[in-house]
Symmetry: C2
Subunit: 364 residues, 2 copies
Amino acid sequence: MSFMVSQPLFASAAGEPILLMPGPVPIPAFIHAAIAQPVIPHRTAAFRTFYRQLLDDLRYFFQAENAHVCTMTGSGTYGMAVAIRSLFSDNDQIVVVTNGKFSERWAGYARSCGMSVAEVAKPWGEVPTAAEIAAAVAATPNVKGVIITHCETSTGALADLEEIAFAVRRVAPDVVLLVDAMTTVGAIPFYFDAWGIDCAITAQKTLMCPSGVVEFALSDRAFARLQPTHEGDFTNLFIYAIKAETANYPFTAPVNLLYGVAAGAAYLRKQSLPVIWNEVHAAAAQFRATCQQRGYTHFPQQFSDSLSVVFPPANVSADTLRGTWEAEHGIIVSGGQEEIAGRVLRVAHFGVAAHNMARLCAVM
Amino acid sequence: MSFMVSQPLFASAAGEPILLMPGPVPIPAFIHAAIAQPVIPHRTAAFRTFYRQLLDDLRYFFQAENAHVCTMTGSGTYGMAVAIRSLFSDNDQIVVVTNGKFSERWAGYARSCGMSVAEVAKPWGEVPTAAEIAAAVAATPNVKGVIITHCETSTGALADLEEIAFAVRRVAPDVVLLVDAMTTVGAIPFYFDAWGIDCAITAQKTLMCPSGVVEFALSDRAFARLQPTHEGDFTNLFIYAIKAETANYPFTAPVNLLYGVAAGAAYLRKQSLPVIWNEVHAAAAQFRATCQQRGYTHFPQQFSDSLSVVFPPANVSADTLRGTWEAEHGIIVSGGQEEIAGRVLRVAHFGVAAHNMARLCAVM
């Protein structure tokens, strides 16, 4: 399955708004061209050949040579919820790091599934240290899992996942480490195998795709935890993961969206991840330099190259700025959610946004 | 939100296979053009304006002026499972009509959710009468719901939904009537309001879209049955339905796929449903006439204009025919599943397929 790459890759049509939000993300023309290819039936050798290549490219994407990878129709929230239901059972003890809207959602969802959740809670914008998390894990008897949000998309706070994974593994060798990697993998360094992650989840953001497909990498440990239920149980990761071992998909596959994911993953592989990480870093650095010149300040202490969450200069309203940028320059960034609603600007530096940072910096 | 309609609407590119399967379905260029439009953020007035129009077009599509309509990311199977979980509770008594692969899946799924299922079971290819179903409903104490597959996509057998709905309502006025309409609504006459359906579900087939979005119509009775759970509970129809009342979507909306659904629904509305139904009927009639001339016979006794399932002429293998048609003519039809695997051909007459029936008839 080939796809066209049109040049320039990331050009916006005249008059088209410049989306710099962490989601939804703008979609380059080569992804749309891939999606528009004729659909192939999903119970054929042609589909399996296509899907096998996609899964292989996702292994590169996650830096997960030894992992089981699979995809499913759904949003990132859907993927996290499916993983929580599938990897853990009622009454399992799990530790969840909470420091923002999304990580709090995972804790709440795990509780609603009947799991016993010990939270390592931090104020929005902060992240716990590896030692704090390891201590909480050590203090939780019979702990089955740890859920960490690598970069909290609501605050831009970045956890030091490598250190955390190492520290957690020392105190709980068999624990399943589940990671929300939605605004990190494909944007900043992420090493599934080397860090010893058990389940990493992302959706469309860094793959520059429309929402609708979620991607999973699973270690042998996580894969062994999965158990069959009913064949129609779309909330069981087992069905998707076991079918993916033979490059099959259990239900009607979202073939056209998978073409888009394949085009995104192949693009990232062809460029190479370090080249992509450098592009994102350069965009973030340019934005930060402008922030410093113009009096914007970062909300999180430990921030990510993939996503900046900043306070505007003193006496300037974040929402007024957003309105002005959109009305006068066609530039759209996100505002804050819940407790930081109206107070911050959220700006993505990955994907198409990495190529449009100069346009934002020019008007800040 | 507008979309281009290119002419001719349903032309295939040279060398592109001609898909006549009930799924996946081929996607016309105007749908792909709609999907490729710039994404709009889903928490904006622009999205709500777009979504409100889409929901209104879906009300026309379902002939459900009084209904609550909503969409969600997922496949048709996902949609049915979400509806079963959301409309019924553990230990609820429900009646499920089973006569093929998909209807059997709904019964199995309801059982796996803890519901008490009384099956009205028929051999594959047959359908129970309205009287049989009404008798089963009357014989089930405290019955909460009835699940009917309008056209069994595995066999092509068509239930007389209007009569069934009327008969069921007479014996159980408050029962929730849940209908798998995946190969009927948008292809053959379907009247949600007039027939008194409580929940009808379809996905991408007759809307000529890529897989990834499922659409629901809900009566007041069904809507009142929905109950809030956890905000992250993507398996609860309540969240999607209540948000849709104000043209909102609860999670990250599949905006680009919704553009496709909107284009499909707007196309069907502009053509008008009777015109579409007549096109499908004409395609089915042409196929049936060819079947009669060439010695193909219908598997179900009560068949649908939307989908034919036929035995090949005596001494001809269905799978050999499928292989020859694909290799020599680029025409792809489906084979049988499970107990009729290798014995039948399954041919869709709706969507793009309605415009390609002559090409199949020429080689039969």
